[in-house]
Every structure is written in C-alpha cells, then in structure tokens.
C-alpha cells in the first residue's frame, strides 16, 4: 500500500524498509538522498528544506501510487523538512517487489519525478551566505 510522509525529524530507513519487506518480495531497493558538503563549487554547511506541505504530501502519494501500478511493487516515500545537517537523509524511497528489476526502476523513477513535481525547496547555507535553490538558479535569501 503506497505511503508518503513529510517529517521534521530523522528518517528511520529500516522502519521504511520493513513496510515493503513482505515475504512475497524478493527485492527491496532503497534510495537515500542525503545532504552533501558541496554544491556548484562551493562548500555547503547545512540545508534547510521548506515545503507546501499538504500539496507535497499529496504529490508524493500520487508518485508512490503510480509507481506501484506501473511496476507492480510496494512503495513508501518519506521527505524530511527543516534544517538538515551534512550526511543526514533528506529523502528516502523504498520499493519492494517480487523481482529486483521492478524495484530498481520504481525507485529511480520516484526520485526523478519527485524532484520535478513535489513542491519542496531547499536553502543552502554556504560561506558566502544562504541561497534558495530554484531549479538551476541560486537566489540570495534574506533571512
């Protein structure tokens, strides 16, 4: 059963994996997006994620449901918002399926689609200030 959540605390990957690890599944594929210490040639100190929460949750659920029907798998997506430190997970997608090909495909399609269609934005804090990331653009943040 597809599931999607927006959370403000650490994402527990094993708990999500357990949701798609029924005995009928021979494969569980997990994608973890985590905060990287550099971006576009600059160091990054930490990220802050902001979301249009109700719409983001709906969009993530639609993506999980669509992946389930396309690949006959089970999908759970969790996105963390607020301040996230280096190396911590910002998004986790788990896909469980009887065979591995479907789980890999579903996982990849979910993260690619999430990046396009889920209303979440990040702000990067770097040595030269804090910037909103909007697609390819970086825009200086005021606060």
């Amino acid at each position: 059963m597809a599931e999607a959540n927006i959370v403000k605390t650490k994402i527990e990957v094993a708990e999500l994996e357990a949701k798609v690890s029924g005995n009928a599944n021979g494969a569980v594929c997990t994608f973890v997006g985590q905060v990287r210490n550099h971006s576009r040639g600059s160091e990054v100190a930490f990220l802050e994620y902001d979301a249009y929460e109700p719409m983001a949750k709906k969009q993530m659920l639609k993506i999980a449901q669509e992946a389930e029907s396309k690949w006959g798998c089970e999908v759970v997506i969790s996105h963390r918002i607020g301040r996230i430190e280096l190396g911590e997970a910002s998004v986790v997608i788990v896909a469980g399926s009887p065979h591995r090909a479907e789980a890999f495909e579903a996982c990849r399609w979910c993260i690619d689609t999430l990046k396009e269609d889920v209303p979440v934005w990040k702000r990067e804090t770097r040595p030269d200030g804090t910037f909103w990331v909007e697609g390819e653009d970086l825009l200086k943040a005021n606060g």
Binding site: M55, A56, W121, K140, N142
Partner: protein, 81 residues
C-alpha cells in the same frame, strides 16, 4: 471575490508568512491573477515565466478559472530530494 495566494521559494520572503489575500473579479483566471500580482509587486515580475501554479493543492493551467476562497500557490522550480 477573495482568493488566497501562497508564495514559495525566495518569493516567500516578499509577504509575511508568504501569504496574501487578493481581491479579484468573478471569473478571474490564474493568468489574470498572476498579472495582478506582477503589477502590484515588482519582485514578482518573473513568476509567469519562472513558476508553475496550483489551485487548491493541485497543479493548474494558466487558463483555470478561480472561485471565491480558492488557494492559489506560486511554485518556482522545485529543489526537493
């Protein structure tokens, strides 16, 4: 009639909490609401080319008609994940 406009990304900093109440005529579309916003706030000049829009939490085309109390979100290119 009144609609609520929600601003996101760097546009959020333009209004307190990123939220505006806007008075528009009956039958206003997303497109004409965007024009109204651009006329009122020069900082929003880029939204027509730069942003997608949602009405009541669903993506909406520019020609979508608005109703009283609709919530219209201005969505710059996303950067989740």
């Amino acid at each position: 009639m009144k609609v609520t406009v929600l601003l996101f990304g760097h546009y959020r900093e333009l209004a307190d909490g990123g939220e505006l109440m806007v008075e528009v005529n009956e039958g206003t579309t997303v497109h004409s609401l965007a024009d109204t916003l651009i006329n009122r706030f020069s900082a929003l000049a880029g939204i027509m080319t730069h942003c997608r829009f949602a009405v009541n939490e669903e993506f909406a085309p520019l020609n979508a008609s608005l109703a009283e109390n609709d919530v219209v979100a201005v969505l710059p290119p996303m950067s989740g994940g």
